[in-house]
Structures are given as C-alpha cells and as structure tokens.
C-alpha cells in the first residue's frame, strides 16, 4: 500500500495544478450538483437505502479524486462502488425489511397510503349524481352543465366557483340538445372528443361554490363528492369526515379507538414480530429444523455424489489404457447434460418420474415391483431430488477433475512409481492431495450454491410430499429457500416480504462461514 502510494506519487505530481486536476474538479462539481439536486427525489418512499448507497458512493468518489494521496484507491473505487450498491445495500435493506410488516396487506409506504386515502370520496346522503356536459369560457376556465333530476332545474357550475340555474331556451340559453343546452352565452360547448381530450383537467377541477363542490367521476357522472379522509401531519392521524372517527397509526394500520381499521395499511416496523412468528410456534420450529437438516444433506450429498462420479469417470478416462481420442469423445458426450438448460432437464426428469406415465417409475414397477408412486413418499422424493441434482452436476466435475489430472506433473507420478508405489498408493498420496488443493474450493462453493438450488426442488417436487398437520405449507423435500418461497408468497394473506427477509437473513448467516472458509484456500496461493 505504501509502496503503491509512492508509485502513484511519481505519476501525480503534487502541488501543481494540472489541466487534468482542474478537469477532475469540474467533473466533480457537476456530479455533486446533479446528486445534490436529485437528493430529495432519491430519498423518496422506500428508496432510502438505495439513496444512501448512492450518496456513500458519491462521497467516496469525491474523497479519492480530491486527495492525491489516495490515488491508488482510484483503481479500487469502481469495485468498491459496485460492492456497496449491489451487495451491501441489498443486504442492509433485507435486514431492515425483516423487522417490518412489509407484505401484500402492508404494501404502501405511509405517504403512499395517505395519498391513497386522500383520493377516497364519499357522497353525502341524498346528494344527486348528475349527467353533465362541459363548456369552455373565453378565458379558458371551464363549466359544467348538470342535468336536473325530475322536477328540478339544470345548473351551471363553473371552475371559478360560481353556480347558477339555467333554463334552456330562455335568456339566450340554447334549447336542450343531447341532454344539455346547445349554447350558453359566454361559453362554447365542448364536443365529446374535446371533452375526452381535456378530461384529465376536468377531473382535477372543482366546480361550484365552496361547500357544495362538484367533481366528475366519469363522462356521465358528476356530484358533490367530498374528500373522505384528511391527514393531520402534526398528530399523524387520519380523520374520517363521513363518520367523524379519528384513526391513529398502530403497527402499520390506521386504527380507531374502537378498533375499526381502514385500508390501505402501510409498511411499519414491527420489531421482532416476524422472528416471533417463525420461531414462536413449536410446530413451525420443528418443521424448519427438519428442513434445515435436509437442506444440509441435500447441499453436501448432492455435490459429493457429483464429485465422486466426476472423479471416477475422469480417472478412468485418464488411464493410459484408454485411447486419447476415445477419451475426448466420451468426455464431450458426458458434457451434454451440463450444456442443456437445466430447467428442461428437470422437467424431463419430472415426466420420467411421473407414477402414471413416467418411463423410470413404470419400468421400475414392472421390473422390481416398486410402488410407481415412490416419488411421493418422503424418502423417495429426497432420492429423486438428489438423483436429478447428481445428473445435472457430475459433468461439471468430469470437466474440472480431468483438467486437474492433466495438470499434475507426470514427473511426480513417475517418481512415485520409482519409489515403488502401487496405483492405489500413487492415487492416494500424489494425485488426490494435489487435486484437492486445486478443486477443493470449487467443491465447497458448489455446496454453498447447491444449498439454494431452488430450481430443482421447485420444478421437480415443489417440496412434496407435505408434512402432515403443519399450520404452514412445508414438504419433506423442501429446502430452506423453497420453504421461504411457500411461506412468504403462497401462504397466508398474500406475499409476506418481512417473513421472507427473516429466512433470507438466516440463509445468509448460514452461508457466511462456508464462504469465509474459502479464504483459507485462497491463502494457499498467497505469495509473500
């Protein structure tokens, strides 16, 4: 680091205002100005985390560009920026969501919920809904002619707050035509097409004097609709003007003193609520534990099988007795399962394992008398999942192990030969140690990846068969991720992002040590 700074110093002369530096400062000023101007927008609803990330990155850019001493960091900056925006921010956001009730029923932010409430209207009892036609005055203001109910007179209400009765055919007002006067002095009647074009303005305008404001809700209806809910910023309460009730926010729901609530609810922090829901129930806890244990078996065993098969095949193909060209052909064919999109493979396996028409199941039933529906029993479904994972992954290890075997120096093996080691001894003492050093990290990373192999589970068994008598949907072949998916998106009152975030956090914590263990392997190659 210090030597890097020294190198950088040689290229960035200090205390000399170069054109490059001036350009840099100008660019920074422009960048900062743009960011500063958009900060209020950035910190809108629900984007605070992303906005903080951006601010952090911009601040970092400023620092490394302004201080020449930090010149080496300029090379690291893009990587760090991406790390912050694509990893740190989402992780922080997930942790935050885990402590909120963010779900389908608490979808909006508070601001959005208030906005949705404020557009709610109600029609006071007895207020008529009238068909209307629009007119435009010379000064651009608009007016509505409200067709009368039986026995009443038509009215003209204007966007300037006036209201007067009109008698068609008298006082210069045109006769009725299509439900409204053909002409009104001082106004031009809008055709239907014109009305449609200016409908947005008409729907946002308020007509008539205060107290009996008329607004339109469609091309055929206008009435004295009144705003139903008002929000008080100071007390953070919502008042229902129709019933007079006051609602205070309680855990993301506006709730009145008598317990009635109004929709929509909004996202709010609920502390450890999601954790309590998940771990407070004994049955859910035991199901989650079983799924967790199976998940580990699934991750480890799946990859172990892939590796062992890959190892055996590669060692066999690497044997001097096998012609080189033949070995290559076999290796290429073995790679086929790897290059076919895995979702197709899984679906094909699913069809082959169908108890009624599946190739594998019906053949097994005929040959060995195995129950054709074996995939539906707890152990059978796990075996099926492992089988497919194995099928999908072993070609990868054939490829990797073959490469590894070819990279083992022939001299070492010859030396072992000279020392009198047999094939087994040679394999155990020379080949395996070198091989494991090379592909050990790959195996561990594959296990970490397989831990979250949602695709196979979801497409093959969907976690089936279900556990009996659980209050949550969960199955014997479910892994944590597919369990999360069921728990969060197909169960209860719609999607529950808070609950999903809790399990995501857990999976993150479980995988962290596995990934951290990689550093040990990387240390193998370190040169000091």
């Amino acid at each position: 680091m210090s030597s890097a700074t020294a190198v950088a110093r040689r290229f960035v002369p200090e205390r000399k205002v170069s054109a490059g530096r001036a350009l840099r400062v100008v660019a920074l000023i422009v960048l900062d100005a743009v960011v500063a101007l958009s900060v209020p927008k950035l910190f809108g609803d629900g984007t605070a985390f992303f906005a903080s990330g951006i601010l952090l990155v911009v601040a970092g850019i400023n620092v490394v560009l302004l201080f020449d001493r930090l010149a080496p960091w300029r090379w690291l900056a893009p990587g760090i920026a991406l790390l912050v925006l694509l990893t740190v921010v989402p992780v922080a956001y997930t942790c935050y969501v885990a402590f909120t009730n963010y779900s389908d029923s608490h979808l909006l932010s508070r601001t959005q919920a208030v906005r949705a409430l404020e557009v709610d209207t109600y029609l006071p009892k007895g207020a008529p809904v009238s068909p209307w036609k629009a007119y435009r005055a010379a000064d651009g203001s608009t007016a509505l002619y409200l067709a009368p109910a039986a026995g009443a007179e038509g009215r003209l209400v204007t966007s300037t707050g006036q209201s007067r009765t009109l008698t068609p055919g008298a006082d210069g007002v045109g006769a009725l035509q299509d439900g409204a006067p053909a002409s009104i002095p001082g106004y031009t009647r809008l055709t239907l097409a014109q009305t449609v074009v200016s409908l947005k303005a008409l729907q946002d305008a308020r007509y008539g004097p205060p107290g009996e404001v008329v607004r339109i809700t469609s091309l055929s209806a206008a009435a004295n609709y009144q705003q139903r809910y008002t929000y008080d910023d100071a007390t953070e309460t919502v008042t229902d003007r129709q019933s007079g009730k006051t609602f205070t926010p309680r855990r993301g729901t506006f709730t009145a003193a008598d317990g009635t609530t109004i929709s929509p609810a909004f996202r709010a922090s609920i502390g450890w609520g999601n954790f309590a829901q998940l771990f407070g129930d004994k049955v859910i806890r035991s199901v989650a534990l079983q799924i967790f244990l199976w998940n580990i078996v699934f991750a480890v065993l799946g990859v172990a099988l892939q590796f062992v098969a890959g190892l055996i095949i590669s060692v066999a193909l690497n044997d001097r007795a096998v012609p080189r060209r033949l070995a290559k052909v076999i290796r290429s064919i073995l790679l086929l399962p790897y290059v076919i999109p895995s979702f197709l493979t899984v679906l094909v396996w699913g069809a082959m394992l169908n108890p009624n028409i599946g190739l594998v199941t019906t053949a097994m039933a005929r040959l060995f008398g195995v129950d054709a529906n074996w995939v539906a029993n707890p152990t059978g479904s796990k075996l099926a999942v492992l089988l497919v994972v194995f099928w999908l992954g072993f070609p990868y290890f054939v490829l990797v192990v073959s490469g590894g075997l070819q990279a083992i120096p022939g001299e070492l093996l010859e030396a072992a030969d000279v020392d009198g080691a047999g094939p087994v001894q040679r394999f155990r003492s020379v080949t395996m140690p070198i091989l494991m050093r090379m592909i050990g990290p790959l195996i561990v990373l594959h296990m970490a990846g397989n831990f979250n192999n949602f695709l196979v589970i979801f497409l093959l068994t969907k976690g089936s068969p279900p556990f009996e008598g659980t209050p949550v949907p969960a199955g014997h072949s479910d892994i944590l991720l597919s369990f999360t998916y069921k728990l969060s998106f197909t169960f209860g009152n719609g999607a529950n992002y808070g609950l999903a975030a809790v399990i995501t956090m857990l999976i993150f914590l479980i995988l962290l040590p596995i990934v951290a263990s990689q550093f040990r392997y990387y240390a193998v190659w370190q040169e000091d």
Partner: protein, 457 residues
C-alpha cells in the same frame, strides 16, 4: 504433443460453446413459443394439477378462466386508436385475450375518441406486477382481474369503486356480489366460470346426478377395465364443488352471497365425508394419484377416463384433441346440490390512475352494455356476467357450462382465502398419497384457514 493437445482442447471448447449456444437458443425458442401455455401450467387453471403438486400460489388457484391454450404465444401490446392529442388508457390483460380485449376497446375508441393500449401479461403476473407498480403510481389505468384478487388489492388500496347505477341489475347478481366489498362495487365482471363434470359418453351414457350412484357407475367401468374410472382435478377449487354436496364448506356463504369468514367449515362432518369419498375412490382403484394435466391430455381422448371432475379450462384441450365428452353439472349429495365457487373475470380501475374518469367511463358508459358484453362472451366462448348476453348466447358448450354453474356462489374475496389454497392442496396431496387420513386433512386445513380468517377479520 502438448501443443496438439492444447489445440484439441481449444477445438473442443469451441464446439462446446457452440453447443451451449445452440442449446440456449433452443431453450429461448421453446420458452418463447411455450410461454402462453407454460404460464398457466403450474396453476390448476392450466389443467388438472397433479394430486402430488401443491396448489398454485394464491390467486392463481382460482383462475379457471385461464385456459391452457397451447396455441397461445407471446403477444406484443396492441394500441387501439391513433388519435393525436387524445388521452390513452392503458390496460393490462391476460395475454390469451389480447385480441378480444383490443376488439372490444375499438368500439370505445371510435365512439369516445380516446386511445387504448392493451398490454399483455401472463394472467397471474398481472396481480404481482400491479402490486409492485401500482403503489408507485406506475400502474395501468385498468387491469384484467379475478374476484379473489379484490381482497388483497382493496387491502392494498389499489382499487377504485365503480358505480353502474341502474345497469347494476343487468349483471349476474352472483358475479356482481363477488365484485362487491363493503357495499362498493370494485370493478366490472365480464365473464363467469365454475366447475363441471366431463363425461365420456362412450363409457358412461348417463350422467352421474348424485354421488350415491358413484359405486354402481365405477363398478361398471372397473369391469370394463377403464384405466381411470374417475379423475378428480385435485385442486382446492374443485374440492369445494365436491364437499358442498355433503354439507361441508370453506366459509359459510348465504344464498345472497354474504360470506361469514368467522364460520369456517373445513372440519364439518360433510367435509370429512367428501374426503372419505376421495379416499374410497382411491382405495377401490376408481382413481389414481398424480393424475396431472399431462396424463389426462393423453388418457381422455384414448377413452381411459370415465368421469372427470374439473372446470371449463379442460374443454379447449379436449376439443383440440378431438375427444368425445359431455358436460354435466356436479353430482348432488346428501346435503343437496353441489355449490361450487363461481369465479368472475373482469376489469378493475386503478385507484391511483391519472385517467380515472376516463377509465370509469370505459366501464360504465361503454362496456356495461349488450353489444360489447355479448361480443366478448362470443369470441372468448365464455359464459357472460351480463344477463342479456348470457341469455342470448346459443353456443351449446357455453349453455352446458351455464347450466353446470347454476348453483354456484361467488368465490369469497377475503384475503384469508389465500391460506385455503396451500392448506387444502397439501391435504389433498397427502390424501392421494395415502399419507394422511380424511380426519387429519380436515383438521389441518380448518386450523390454517381459521387462523388466516382471524387475521383478516
């Protein structure tokens, strides 16, 4: 030697990348052409789901209006009308009905001088996308929706009430009831759908009118060595059509459509009896586990299925396969006629729409009329939610379906319903796998749905 080996390796590698590319391309093509049919597949709507598969997530389970048409493919958005300066209504619709919706919107565009943009989506994607885009103010003006979305969407504050005035009386009351919450109509139902029994008349000349006749009919079919004498589309939506004949229910529903979500009847004796019926069918070999859409698609045309308790989604595939079938109402039971759920598809207005008034007019001043309603029902071969159009449709299939749906009640729109699908779906899976008993299945489902109902109340 090493040089040569390396060259070989490179060639192998190139070949490999080529193969991978080809495979990816093939995948892209196949996924492209199959999106339409693939989307509904995981949902019971796309066909009879396997008893081994859990019911589809949430709302999708009740979307029988999605028929698994294999010919559907990715459709581009269609803009109707090209009037400069005029406002444009955006609507998200099921990609299978883009053309029909566009044709319907044409009349509106011509009459009112507005443009309508019809944006296709996989049906269930409409809900999830709307839940994301809606709150941010980026939602469309209208969406194609089903009854059971209304609960969650209303709760999320995304639906604007619509007032049809005197025209409300012209709707199938059950459909409009389903679309009503707390006295407010939350959109416009267009088509309705329920369940039916598809019968192979070559194997069974007479319809099954009561479950008490099942044994005789089944014994006959077993004697004829029919492979699947009866198939129950084992999803929770179909299940309601069976258990109501025995006096069971999910939520207590009055004939006027009122739903009492505090009264959950999934462990009532009638429910257990219905589950017993399924268990008996399985035990006697009348039906088999894991009979999914792929299985029936081959078996029905091959005369291997006597009866199938299913819904209209199964009709198009069988018509395409030139299968012979008759459409019967669900059998009655000890508690009287079956009361399946009526699902009603239609359009709803985004509460945060910037064209709210125009979107309202689209429904109240244009769509809710004999012309558009009758045409839409005709071109989609569906039962209309508009009574005059329902009566005027002379299509034999639609008439048979209408008859089968005569006793149906609207599907409840409470958010608590979303706990029903996985709970009952899993229960049925266990029952068909012989891994649980009717008693336990009933109790578990009851517990799950009651808990959700308490939360939703």
């Amino acid at each position: 030697m090493t040089q040569q080996a390396r060259r070989f390796d490179r060639r192998n590698f190139l070949g490999l990348t080529g193969a991978a590319g080809l495979a990816a391309l093939a995948a892209a093509c196949s996924s492209g052409s199959s999106t339409g049919s693939a989307t509904p597949t995981p949902s019971p709507a796309g066909g009879s789901p396997a008893p081994t598969s859990a019911p589809a997530p949430s709302a999708s389970a009740t979307a029988p209006a999605v028929s698994g048409s294999p010919s559907a493919s990715v459709t581009p958005p269609v803009t109707v009308g090209n009037i400069p300066g005029a406002p444009t209504l955006t609507m998200w619709v099921d990609s299978q009905y883009v053309a029909q919706h566009a044709a319907a919107a044409k009349g509106f565009s011509d009459k009112f001088g507005a443009n309508v943009k019809v944006q296709p989506f996989g049906f269930n994607d409409i809900l999830t996308n709307f839940q994301k885009a809606g709150p941010a103010g980026n939602g469309p003006d209208l969406i194609d929706a089903n009854i059971d979305w209304l609960g969650p969407l209303q709760q999320a504050g995304l639906v604007a009430p619509v007032d049809f005035g005197a025209n409300a009386a012209k709707f199938d009351k059950r459909a409009l009831d389903g679309w009503t919450q707390n006295g407010a109509v939350l959109g416009m139902p267009i088509t309705v759908e329920s369940l039916c029994v598809l019968r192979n008349p070559k194997l069974l000349p007479e319809p099954l009118t009561n479950w008490s006749q099942l044994k005789t009919a089944m014994d006959g079919l077993v004697a004829k060595k029919v492979k699947y004498p009866i198939v129950y589309d084992s999803n929770a939506y179909v299940y309601i059509g069976i258990l109501t004949a025995f006096g069971g229910y999910c939520f207590k529903q009055a004939p006027d459509g009122k739903v009492d979500i505090a009264d959950v009847g999934l462990d009532k004796p009638g429910t257990v009896q219905a589950l017993d019926l399924l268990a008996t069918s399985l035990k006697n070999g009348w039906t088999k586990p894991a009979v999914d859409a792929n299985v029936v698609a081959k078996a029905f045309p091959a005369n291997q299925i006597g009866l199938q308790v299913t819904g209209p989604w199964q009709i198009l595939p069988y018509q395409d396969a030139k299968a012979t079938f008759a459409i019967d109402p669900l059998p009655a039971g000890p508690a009287g006629p079956a009361v399946p759920w009526l699902s009603a598809r239609g359009l709803l207005v985004n509460k945060l729409s910037k064209n709210a008034a125009l979107a309202q007019s689209f429904l109240t001043d244009y769509w809710a009329a004999d012309g558009p309603m009758a045409t839409f029902a005709k071109v989609t071969a569906k039962q209309s939610a508009w009574l005059p159009a329902q009566k005027s449709n002379d299509d034999a299939t639609v008439q048979a379906l209408t008859k089968a749906a005569a006793t149906a009640l609207p599907i409840p729109s409470t958010p608590a319903l979303q706990a029903f699908w996985p709970a009952v779906g899993d229960g049925l899976t266990l029952l068909f796998n012989k891994q649980s008993t009717p008693d336990k299945v009933a109790r578990t489902a009851q517990a799950a749905v009651s808990a959700a109902a308490k939360k939703a109340a």
